[in-house]
């Protein structure tokens, strides 16, 4: 009997250990996913903050640019740099065949003649002289230099030809390839050429959308929360509003996209692809989040405060506006920031209202067509070029950075300013 008991007890303890092990592994797995995830994004993305440049000697020959003896500023502005640019590249290998010349041209970015033009505009005295100019390398060579490109693939399976690699390796040996901080990633709009694509347009799009969202959602949500928490009579109708809010908080975001498409674009004829429509759509989505946060922090203000104000002869409206609402602000603000952070990461509804269009200008107002950071991630992730992979990861890093800052900010507001009621 006792022996049986011993056995049973041991097996019970083993079950206990097993159960704890399951629990620990679950936590471990969840944290492991998070780690892999962040590691993967960082390891693919950090290279995007560097950009590869080819340092090529350019001979600013007036004849090749079809310029006169003493060109004016306007002449320089209007001159044709394409042939000069081509010649510059062909000079890298004077014995190149026609096909190889084409390869040479493709070693630099698509708009490389602009970089040459800028150099000359900065210093017109260069005419007739030769100078080393930094030219943006093509995205494929950029990847080669960063070591992300599978060089050992057979030639017909990669976009970089053997010839290009040969010339590139020569340039590397001569110290004519350099890697510098990729400022253009932050200042350029989107582009079909990976080496020229930047996040400036989508970043501004995100900022405008979030601002529109804030301007609409915050006041409406706060007013609604004040009404529901402080003034609403307890009846069927307010119950119905309450159920509505809770459900809206769980409606899939894409349905809000359909709302934006079906009502804002189709009925109200607002301009497509704009942060204005995106912001309105997002604000409808964020509304319940802010209402719920604001109500919770109104609820946390103890009734004694309200009673004290009422007993002083303040009207209900005065009590609310002078005491309850200011006291609840920290909670409301941090809830709002968290809601905005959610909106900032939202993609699907923006795609439906057309913010997925290719935009290669930086929007100047909420009425200009734009993308947003998450949509930019989607657009780039769908592109085939290898150069976009690191761009996507870098864009994700920027987006995550913003989300982290917003969440930290919300935390700080909550901990610093929220009054603790004992």
């Amino acid at each position: 009997m006792n022996k049986n008991k011993e056995k049973l007890l041991n097996s019970r303890y083993r079950a206990e250990k097993r159960f704890q092990f399951y629990g620990k592994s679950a936590i471990f797995l969840a944290l492991l996913f998070l780690t892999i995830f962040i590691f993967k994004i960082f390891s693919t993305g950090y290279t995007a903050f560097q950009k590869t440049w080819l340092i090529v000697p350019v001979t600013f020959d007036a004849e090749t640019m079809y310029l006169d003896e003493n060109p004016s500023k306007e002449d320089l502005e209007d001159a044709d740099y394409f042939d000069l640019a081509l010649q510059t590249m062909f000079n890298l290998d004077k014995s190149a065949s026609e096909k190889q010349q084409n390869d040479l041209k493709r070693m630099v970015s698509y708009f490389f003649e602009r970089e040459i033009k800028r150099e000359l505009l900065n210093d017109p005295s260069l005419i007739g002289k030769t100078k080393d100019v930094y030219l943006t390398a093509s995205d494929d060579l950029d990847q080669v230099f960063k070591g992300n490109y599978p060089r050992d693939l057979p030639e017909d399976q990669r976009r970089v030809t053997d010839y290009q690699l040969k010339i590139f390796d020569q340039l590397v040996e001569q110290g004519r390839v350099e890697s510098k901080f990729n400022l253009s990633f932050f200042t350029y709009p989107d582009s079909r050429e990976a080496e020229l694509a930047g996040i400036a347009s989508s970043f501004m799009g995100s900022i405008f959308s979030i601002l529109v969202c804030l301007v609409i959602a915050f006041p409406v949500a706060v007013l609604a929360a004040i009404y529901l928490e402080e003034f609403a009579p307890k009846n069927r109708f307010t119950d119905f509003i309450e159920v509505n809010i809770n459900n809206l908080a769980a409606v899939p975001s894409i349905v809000f996209g359909l709302l934006g498409l079906g009502i804002l674009l189709a009925v109200f004829q607002l301009p497509r692809s704009t942060p204005l429509v995106g912001g309105i759509t997002l604000s409808l989505m964020t509304l319940p989040t802010i209402i719920i946060a604001c109500r919770a922090s109104l609820k946390a203000v103890p009734p004694s405060i309200r009673e004290a104000a009422l007993a002083m002869g303040a009207s209900k409206m005065q009590t609310t506006m002078h005491h309850t609402v200011p006291l609840s602000m920290p909670g409301t603000l941090s809830g709002t920031i968290i809601g905005l952070a959610q909106a900032l990461g939202e993609t699907a509804p923006l795609i439906l209202i057309g913010m997925v269009a290719f935009v290669n200008t930086i929007p100047g107002s909420p009425l200009d067509p734009a993308a947003s950071l998450p949509v930019q991630i989607y657009i780039w992730a769908e592109s085939a070029e290898r150069g976009f992979v690191e761009k996507v990861s870098a864009c994700i890093m920027v987006l995550l950075g913003f989300l982290i800052i917003m969440n930290l900010f919300a935390q700080i507001i909550r901990h610093k300013f929220e009054k603790k009621w004992s």
């Binding site: 206990e16 679950a26 969840a30 949500a221 609604a224 509003i241 509505n244 769980a250 899939p252 975001s253």
Partner: protein, 461 residues
């Protein structure tokens, strides 16, 4: 111009606040006792000044375009144009009047454009005059009311209350907006495609339904066997199932561990770390699934001699599961912590081990709450879009092989609506019908789950 009017009204509002308050002081100066604080006199006048003007202003803004359109198109009314063509004419007129029209300019169009410009300027002028008149009238009225030292606090507060109430309607309006945006397109869709074919058809191939030329009559037979939603319903269900297979065990076990075993310190760090997973945007998960998980599974599959699609249901579902872990873990953590301590004590006092207590006492007691949290997780999985769009193909295969690619309701909505949409086309309408289905499914899941959770909360409060 509109902005100028808007700013003008706002400025007038502020000025009248100032005058109202001044009036109150002057009443006070005559040793008459005020019935409210001077500010309320200001608010009172400001409301009288701005609100009627704003109402007229917005009514005008809503109705002006359609009235102008009616007047312009009345010239064409007896020439036998179709509605779509009339719309086109109107659009052409508008762009011509802005000087942005690049096409054949007919005399008809030119006169219309001129008329359009004319009408717009008449409208603009009369709007300004009307608004000014309204403002003056209402300020005079309000000022008179103040002068007689009428009550001002009550009406101001009543007005504020009305504003608060209106704001609280936003949630209902949004819901109504959702239903409205979906329902008309959905009804039109079912006029062409029988409901039965949609629900029970097994071929989903919207690419076949090319965008129809608006002038051609609609031929329903063209769409037979195109919009059978069974494959995407099945795909949605299947991917959600895979996601829950990942999320439930991991989420539940970590929720239990955090609630019952973890020391304060571990809890303090592990809980927010896990919740980071919920804060990562879904498009980032989608990229992760497509870039890392998909190829990884494919490599493993190839090593094991299996045929794995790079865009498999498993990759999408698995990553979606990771996304849902924190929802389940923190909700079940809450639910478990709210089980009263006395039940735990009762069980420990019987000589039960911790895991026995959890499995046999706490878990059954918390079950309704846990079921609720799982259902909310399912509703998330069903409504998740970007992960599926990016990681699990867009072709709607009817398959239950997790290694093949399949599609979901949400992914199909994106596929159909990305790029240009033509309203009135069955293909576009199909997306709205899918949206309606999605809305109804998630709505019922949410209502049910929230009710279960609420009941459970009430039980232990």
């Amino acid at each position: 111009m509109n902005l100028v009017i808007f700013i003008f009204i706002v400025l007038l509002g502020f000025t009248s606040y100032y005058f109202g308050r001044k009036k109150a002081y002057s009443i006070q100066a005559t040793n008459t006792r005020l019935t409210a604080l001077p500010q309320f006199y200001g608010y009172y006048l400001a409301i009288w000044c701005a609100i009627p003007a704003f109402i007229i202003y917005s009514l005008w803004a809503i109705f002006e375009p359609s009235i102008v359109k009616l007047i312009i198109l009345s010239d064409y009314s007896n020439q036998g144009y179709l509605d779509d063509e009339l719309n086109l004419i109107y659009e052409k007129t508008k762009s011509l009047s802005r000087g942005q029209f690049s096409g054949e300019i007919t005399t008809y169009l030119e006169t219309s454009a001129e008329k359009y410009l004319n009408l717009r300027s008449i409208a603009q002028n009369s709007k300004v005059v009307l608004i000014l008149a309204i403002i003056i009238a209402s300020i005079v009225y309000g000022y008179k009311r103040i002068s007689s030292n009428n009550r001002t606090r009550e009406p101001v507060e009543k007005f504020l209350n009305a504003v608060l109430f209106t704001a609280s309607l936003a949630a209902i309006l949004t819901t109504i907006g959702i239903v409205f945006s979906l329902i008309f397109q959905t009804i039109d869709f079912f006029k062409v495609i029988p409901l039965f074919d949609f629900i029970f058809g097994t071929h989903w191939y919207p690419a076949k339904a090319f965008v129809r030329d608006a002038s051609e009559p609609l031929d329903p037979s063209m769409y037979s066997d195109t919009f059978g939603a069974v494959p995407i319903f099945a795909g949605t269900f299947f991917i959600a199932l895979i996601a829950m297979c990942v999320a439930i065990p991991i989420g539940l076990m970590s929720g239990i561990y955090l609630a019952e075993y973890a020391s304060t310190k571990v809890r303090q760090y592990a809980k927010p770390l896990i919740e980071i997973l919920a804060g990562i945007p879904t498009v980032v998960y989608g990229f992760f699934a497509a870039l890392t998980v998909g190829p990884f599974l494919k490599d493993i599959g190839t090593a094991m001699g299996l045929e794995v699609s790079a865009e498999s249901a498993l990759a999408a579902g698995g990553v979606m599961g990771i996304m849902i872990i924190p929802f389940i873990s923190s909700l079940s953590d809450d639910v478990i912590t709210s089980v009263p301590q006395s039940l735990r004590d009762g069980s420990y006092a019987m000589g039960a081990t911790k895991s026995e207590t959890i499995k046999k006492v706490i878990f059954p007691a918390a079950l309704p709450g846990i079921v609720g949290s799982i259902l909310l997780g399912v509703s998330r999985a069903v409504g998740e879009t970007m992960i599926v769009v990016m990681a699990s193909g867009l072709a709607a295969n009817l398959t239950f092989n997790p290694l093949e690619s399949t599609s979901t309701i949400t992914a199909q909505i994106v596929v159909i609506l990305i790029g240009d949409q033509a309203f009135g086309d069955p293909k576009t309408q199909a997306a709205f019908a899918l949206g309606m289905t999605l809305f109804l499914v998630t709505l019922s899941l949410n209502i049910f789950a929230l009710r279960v959770v609420k009941k459970y909360r009430e039980k232990y409060e």
